[in-house]
Symmetry: C2
Subunit: 150 residues, 2 copies
Amino acid sequence: MGAASLIERNDYAFGQLNDIVGFHIRLAHGAVYRHFTETFADLDLTQKQVSVLWLVDDQPGVSQIELGQRLRMDRATTMTIVNRLQNRDLLRRERSETDGRKQALYLTDQGSEALVGAKHAIGEHESWLKSRFTSEEIDKLVEMLARIHD
Amino acid sequence: MGAASLIERNDYAFGQLNDIVGFHIRLAHGAVYRHFTETFADLDLTQKQVSVLWLVDDQPGVSQIELGQRLRMDRATTMTIVNRLQNRDLLRRERSETDGRKQALYLTDQGSEALVGAKHAIGEHESWLKSRFTSEEIDKLVEMLARIHD
DNA sequence: CGCAATTGTTAGTGGAGCATACAATTGCGC
DNA sequence: GCGCAATTGTATGCTCCACTAACAATTGCG
């Protein structure tokens, strides 16, 4: 056991796995997911649900398919999430007047209320996440992540 | 070019959501997950499964609890993943000689073979991911992601 | 009109995460 | 050595998310 002992560095815990970028994205996502879930335990909302409420609030009357595309979900996944939110009276569907195939999505009053609470919780969650970085680093991080998902 | 052109282009799709770091991490993770799944369709292995095989190969005889801690999974989740791999004869459990409570995990020959194939596929997957960045950016990205999950 | 594309819906599969309860083993205080 | 607490594994059940496949309704176009 010389001074070069690998154990002194955290990296040893993962061995070669440490060099895999995708691995770190997954771990980071997991950490964010867990903290999000804790922060939102009272509100009983998931990341996806908040994203949906947020987007529908931003663009009232959006169709399900467009919502799904923006959040990178397929139609079936979008359905189940919208169903859940509709069953909880946070969201309502309306037949689009211009295109009978489409469902126009709107927040209910209750949904708007929930979103207000959610945005507050998001603030705490983001503070927890951003506390690790300078604002320059945050810009760089977001820009790099966008390069991956765009 | 600059911030203004970004806002004209894609950003509107997400509205305010665009400023949420956690949102971008989730989208990036989803994109990586999807590409990983496509790359590994033939091998029929998930990200988690590959991580487990990789770590067990790196540290033969590791206990389930330690494996779970390193990959940030609880005991129950670790169980189900190890069960799946054991049922496919990629992994085997052995009672630890030093501690009767522990299960020592080892790859089977078949598991080692599968891992070889997986590492090759990981190479392709990582190339796809890294093609967006310079090597300096990759170092910075990994370092920032590690700050989140450590 | 008739056909293809789009959108929505339904049902089923599987991975992953978590909570809870219980069993086996170990280690420690006494 | 005995008894209890801690550790580890196991079993069960729940939720969420993503995907596929099949089918229906509507729209748009040749």
